[in-house]
Subunit: 206 residues, 2 copies
Amino acid sequence: MGKVTRRERERQRHRREILAAAQDLFSRKGFDRTSMAEIADRAEFAVGTLYKLFEDKQALYRALILDTVREFEAALSAALNARGSEIEKLERYIETKADLFVRHIPTARLYFGQTAAAQCAPTVGLDRAARALYEKVLDRLESLFRAGIRRMLFVEVEPKMLALGLEGISNAFLPALVERPDDFSADEMAALTKKIFFGRVSLKAE
Amino acid sequence: MGKVTRRERERQRHRREILAAAQDLFSRKGFDRTSMAEIADRAEFAVGTLYKLFEDKQALYRALILDTVREFEAALSAALNARGSEIEKLERYIETKADLFVRHIPTARLYFGQTAAAQCAPTVGLDRAARALYEKVLDRLESLFRAGIRRMLFVEVEPKMLALGLEGISNAFLPALVERPDDFSADEMAALTKKIFFGRVSLKAE
DNA sequence: GACAGCCGTGAACCATCATTCATATTATGT
DNA sequence: ACATAATATGAATGATGGTTCACGGCTGTC
């Protein structure tokens, strides 16, 4: 009973095509300002077809967000769990994130929207599971900072706050990247982030 | 011909009441998920009245955003133009912003939504004028960094990027603040921001 | 080659608002 | 007190867009 029939493969391909169309539209115009008809148009299907593959608009959105956050979470968690000192892990985290941002701008927009922005307006963040995945990354960051502080690699600051601060900086350049994608390389972005976060901006002694 | 008749004063008071109701709803649920009827209800007016005071829903929103951003811009620009060295000005900027955030959380949410988040999804930022005001703050930050670098107060990094980085960190704690408002004082938030941005997080020599 | 089941289709349906406007209410001037 | 102008009201209107479903075609099976 081979479940992987041609039918099923086609079905999954269509599903992916719809998600791709939706990603572009949702990331540029947001959930409410994107209609099912538009998504169907762009994906070259009829509206009805979307409803064959997804319960409703919310479910389609959720699936997309979940895919997006899962992809990011996987890459970022891998970076955070690689070998090396706390600092090296965090540096790899920064590099990985910059790379993801530069390489997949629409995905990055969605990721940022769901993590940073949505935290301030809970009603906007439409998904529970995605949130949980992001929390996992935050927790991992926090515990790395905690360990780093214990080993005297970092200053003594609430580790949770350090994690949020790092998130803040590593997201900071995304708007600029969105506006002029060609002016940024992942390496530059990562270097800048590391310099500001780990180095010191001020030259005066404290 | 005293223009400041009772009628006119009442009118303005009603206007403010409507804006106050709208602020709470928009900041919590966003533009699309807030209906004119809801705003009218909360403000204890009829829908028609909203249309006597505002052209349409967009205009009401624009007025609100403009008020919000204007308020922030005024306070932040004042901080950036006060006496003192570049570092002192920036420190005052950080303190002022933290204070605004802690004191006016709904306003802060709107501000953040319109500045940081909206930059990534241009269609979301519904207002031109508000954007321009924020750009003014960014430009001022940038030129402060530029001057500071010339005077060897800061490391040599693209000043624009330093400005974005500072924005990133000073926004970073807002989500935490929104979630548990009582756990944060403006002073703590400002101190943390300064420590991460101006000080150094890493203890190892570079 | 006929039959059954799956797929895709898009017109039709319905709920949700933004917006309007005829009417009711209140304030102002005489 | 009366006339008049300004203001507030909320039911009615129309547009938008999510969702459904009856239909026609295609695929794989016997």
